[in-house]
Symmetry: D2
Subunit: 424 residues, 4 copies
Amino acid sequence: MQLEAYQIADHNNKLQETHQRKLSYWTGEVANAEEVIQKLIAFQIAIPSWALGTGGTRFGRFPGGGEPRSLEEKIEDVGLLHALNKSSGAISLHIPWDIPKDGEAIKSLAASYGLQFDAMNSNTFQDQPDQPLSYKFGSLQHVDRAVRQQAIEHNIDVIKHGVALGSKSLTVWLSDGSCFPGQLNFRKAFERTLDSLQEIYAALPDDWKVFVEYKAFEPNFYSMTVGDWGSSLLFANKLGPKAYTLVDLGHHLPNANIEQIVSLLLMEGKLGGFHFNDSKYGDDDLTVGSIRPYQLFLIFNELIDGMDRKGMNHATDLGWMIDASHNVKDPLEDLLQSVEAIQLAYAQALLVDRQALEEAREANDVVRAQEILQEAFRTDVRPLVAEARRRAGGALQPLSLFRQLDVRQQLISERGLKTIATGL
Amino acid sequence: MQLEAYQIADHNNKLQETHQRKLSYWTGEVANAEEVIQKLIAFQIAIPSWALGTGGTRFGRFPGGGEPRSLEEKIEDVGLLHALNKSSGAISLHIPWDIPKDGEAIKSLAASYGLQFDAMNSNTFQDQPDQPLSYKFGSLQHVDRAVRQQAIEHNIDVIKHGVALGSKSLTVWLSDGSCFPGQLNFRKAFERTLDSLQEIYAALPDDWKVFVEYKAFEPNFYSMTVGDWGSSLLFANKLGPKAYTLVDLGHHLPNANIEQIVSLLLMEGKLGGFHFNDSKYGDDDLTVGSIRPYQLFLIFNELIDGMDRKGMNHATDLGWMIDASHNVKDPLEDLLQSVEAIQLAYAQALLVDRQALEEAREANDVVRAQEILQEAFRTDVRPLVAEARRRAGGALQPLSLFRQLDVRQQLISERGLKTIATGL
Amino acid sequence: MQLEAYQIADHNNKLQETHQRKLSYWTGEVANAEEVIQKLIAFQIAIPSWALGTGGTRFGRFPGGGEPRSLEEKIEDVGLLHALNKSSGAISLHIPWDIPKDGEAIKSLAASYGLQFDAMNSNTFQDQPDQPLSYKFGSLQHVDRAVRQQAIEHNIDVIKHGVALGSKSLTVWLSDGSCFPGQLNFRKAFERTLDSLQEIYAALPDDWKVFVEYKAFEPNFYSMTVGDWGSSLLFANKLGPKAYTLVDLGHHLPNANIEQIVSLLLMEGKLGGFHFNDSKYGDDDLTVGSIRPYQLFLIFNELIDGMDRKGMNHATDLGWMIDASHNVKDPLEDLLQSVEAIQLAYAQALLVDRQALEEAREANDVVRAQEILQEAFRTDVRPLVAEARRRAGGALQPLSLFRQLDVRQQLISERGLKTIATGL
Amino acid sequence: MQLEAYQIADHNNKLQETHQRKLSYWTGEVANAEEVIQKLIAFQIAIPSWALGTGGTRFGRFPGGGEPRSLEEKIEDVGLLHALNKSSGAISLHIPWDIPKDGEAIKSLAASYGLQFDAMNSNTFQDQPDQPLSYKFGSLQHVDRAVRQQAIEHNIDVIKHGVALGSKSLTVWLSDGSCFPGQLNFRKAFERTLDSLQEIYAALPDDWKVFVEYKAFEPNFYSMTVGDWGSSLLFANKLGPKAYTLVDLGHHLPNANIEQIVSLLLMEGKLGGFHFNDSKYGDDDLTVGSIRPYQLFLIFNELIDGMDRKGMNHATDLGWMIDASHNVKDPLEDLLQSVEAIQLAYAQALLVDRQALEEAREANDVVRAQEILQEAFRTDVRPLVAEARRRAGGALQPLSLFRQLDVRQQLISERGLKTIATGL
């Protein structure tokens, strides 16, 4: 299924009057409205290929219908999202779930939807059928050199697939760790993981980055070998200039101040990418902005501050990805909500009066500093985000249009009710 | 596979001298050693049928070999455990994973291993193939009366299976809840769940109990309809005298004082059963006593205090069950470790000088109260536990014997390497 | 110091044009704008007398200047707040910090500022000079009957003071609990506390309520005798119809779903009052809405839903109080921010399309339900809140006016730089 | 008050028979009993001067009697502890609470009790009377250069005091951070703190170490500038070879794996010291081992492993200090309990069969690895600890002797009932 330009246009036309009323008001109220709109247009968020099907937990999975059955259909799904919001112009693949048989064809297909290939993801947290050695006790940390070698080679394979598709980065998320006190020699696990990462690093093209993702717990429930930003930064520093830390919002201990971590990593020049989601208890992988939207805003506030200071390009100098699970929602609807929440937070953070904020800080005016942030957060930037979409050729209200066009029903007609996307 | 009496006897004979030396010492040191041994002999912990296979997480599962392929083989596994430790004399079944085709035959089989049937567990957190209506959005709380009815009938079915097997209780664990703010009307969800539970309660035989288990989060990540002991107690009180709260150690928010909850529920006469496991982050379902053994001891300290005060029988008046997941260990070995940890905590708690403790408390002598508890906890009660096993006909060192006899290898020979037990 | 009407009028006049522009827009966008404004005018939040001075931690306290030195000056401070925002029309006193020597005079003074007396607060968590018996090991739970009696009598005294001032409720927050395993017999502590509360309850006038506040931890670090909503509800139910649970936002374990607790307590008819603040780690007592504004909105969403269903009056049928600590901000500025945050959350929650929300819920339309809540939360209701203040005679921008008028500086001139308010 | 040798001897004589019976048994059971005893004799834990008086919370403080009124009396108290347990042979001072007027005299006094001076502690988290500039908004991070300078000079002063007393290290614990989003520029706060630390580092004698302590929250409730081990390590690495990270057990987010942090810091050669205490909720500063004794053991397990690998001397190459608060116990009794808990954990960790453990790990034998650790933890090492004390000249049961000799009563006679020790 593919959206036609006239469908978007019809939708926008019907809403245009209302939209214009709101937009006029807000462009009057917000000093840098045009700048915000321009930056929103440039800002693209990668969709992970594994988030296009219904997710589940160890207790069960309740699939919806019309899920993509192949890499081609996954690209089609992201194409649909991008047609609607013009902000999902990239896809992040996961190997071996998405091995492209014909790299060139896949690249052309993606290009036909205006999509690029963001970070490639390797998988050494599951055993694949016919895989010679098991990752039950880890992969890059494994006590057995042969298992480590297998995992290293898999990562190098993933790089090769990525090169063929035009990707420029590899995300290494390791579930390696331990479930019980005593199971692991922490130091050896660190050193073996480092050795393995160094071999992968050596295979990295010069214009690539490798992102070392950290996670506090799950699936290992006692220790994770890359468990926090401190460990990840140790690895990234020991690896070299192409290695960076990747922050996933759900991968922290309770109450962590993630925005401070973001600031410090940017200060150290070692923040590489971001996985967006939201959570209340653990790595709940909920829709972005559904639980703690103010925290999301605060994170963007630090991102902008840190990137601007180093002259980084918001749109291109960090990897922006969603990493969520859709257990009780239509995955495509959920992703539309997530992208919107990211855009809102980004737009609000762009409204922050940074000069006034720094002045308040230098004067220890805590009340004023809070007011400046809340002033931005309390602003209703939805019309600006809608306008950015409209100008880029997207829909004023992507979710409404998705429903009006009965997209899911069409996908079910085309693909069937009982399809199951590869992935978790 | 079945253990022969001579195998146990040989094992014990070889260890007898060492055991006797330790035992003599400790019966000299511990005033109530004989009482402890007697109580340990009577104390049986039910093994859940779903804990006999390798568990997993949403990220994957790494099966071992020789897992039970049928209810009969699950009973055989529990029989093996019980032959080794004489403390696992009950099995807790899960429907529909363990539907007995011939109740009488199953009952006989269990009896041949000296096993009874503990609480029956229903399952409305997963959809079964060919199930007419889905539990995607809940079961007993569902907005649709027909779904609730289906779930009610399933529970009544489970009671019937239990009656046939001689079980006397039903555990209702509901995954019902919501993943996102707005999804659920909390009050209606509570009221619908109550209505449904009342229908199940009405079908409960007079000599049965129903346990309302609570859980703070997972698989729902925003709200759980029976989310804490307060909610569970509300349900139990509204249901009537046959309804009780069940405490699972892993089902709490971080830092919860579980021993205090146990004490209050016993005070209210509403504690019905217990699910043992251990955890560091969430419902990690780790081996009992592997992370926080002192907390386990403190819980037993409250259990004994509260039960003794009401004249309850330790062995029979509460449902004692393990509920763990074995992702990186041999399930049978893990269960042997769990039962041992429970026995140690129980034995240590039996050593507490309760009169001295109450005196210290009434004198606000905090230092002395702590000393009294630590005195018991620091005592090495392993010889007493081993002696209880020996006298009951079990092995002095069950885990060692399990390994010496190559039990797992034999099970693999009999059942195959790639079996998968029904369950999570 | 007292604000003059012309000062408010001048301030509002200068801002009137801008305000009118925003207001016109939003009254056009929001269907029930007038209803929201009316409800906001009626909605009053009590200021706790102990929040008018700089707070601190066990590590230190950094006082500001011009803090109130007497009950009269505390009333003056709340009068200032109320003059500015017309939403702080009540004060909540704390005995013994605020013992009124002449009840009638104090009542008149408060009335002259348009203030009423909200819930009275007793204090049995500290020893006062010349107090015969110590609360080191608890008060209403104490092992010694004489200490309990002293604490009971103190509470009855507080009721008497309250009666004289026209208050209608008593808030009992107990720090009672234990710091170490073993220290406390949980059951006896519960029973003694209940006995004590029953004596206090017996002294309660017929038209009074008693609020049983719960707290998860601090200042006791192992157990709290009224530790969660479950315990508080047990006490309230055992006490009788005048006893209610009071929810303080900061008194929960990490990740607690407070909005669900609110909903269940309203369902049970046992929610009595609310203490507003915000927190990231524990009972941090930060400015309301400064950390988790969306959670605050979700709580108001449940409050409105539950109160409306029972035909309760938003403004009068629950006790609304702030309970925060101002360690690094001017307390009066902080309170202005807190009241504003509460009003915003209340107003946003009034925007929720409840009929549509229930329809979405009954259809399991999780995406739509989330959209409905976010639609309300993302609306910029500041102009409506400002208009409510304006119509009630308050300032459009209370905080700005507070600063323009140099209120703090005037208070310092009147009271001195090194004053210290009674309280924490 | 000073203990006489005969008092210890009498006490030991009375208990000798029982002790000898237990000791004989355990030296028979434990292969390396003599090695454990020798290492215990060498192992000394520093007592912080501020832990000798009753602690409190922001809600209140309930002092005991006979608290030390001067540095001399604090040394006397630690002398008493050391006489009893021969394991508290050092004191850690806190400036400005413990400024020695005559360094030489103080040094002699300490030596007369067999005490050394462990790490010196600076204090920039409180304002002292007559201090020119306030630390309300931080010290080493402060926006105002003059405040930073004042804090730097204070630290340099502390070093000077330490040099005079023979101390060899400075612990810098900063409460610097922020209470509200927006308040702080995280990067500038880091950079200013680093600049300040560099100036302090420059003043450090060649044979000194500086410990950079981290803490997750409190007294700042939004961010802490040295908030976790990752930040602390960044500072330590940027400072140079004399800078190390100090781990305080209570300074982490919920559920943190502290033993893994210990292992990684030792791997990096950057672990400098340790603050022992225990906690359930936050920085509760409870008696060591009173809540999570198994975690304490696991931490010692890593300490021994990491130190042995680098050839470090257990007794001298890390700074071992208690940092607790005694709100409901006699401080000296509490400290005796804490020291005992540390010794037990250390002794148990010395029992771990490290070769077998490594073999189990290399074989992924998780069950065996757990058994090896639990084997050590479940061993009753109290007789070994008592023997180590006895041989060193201390009491078999320090706490019992403390009570038998009525030490507290004597201190009250000498010092009075209403003394208040300087400190928190």
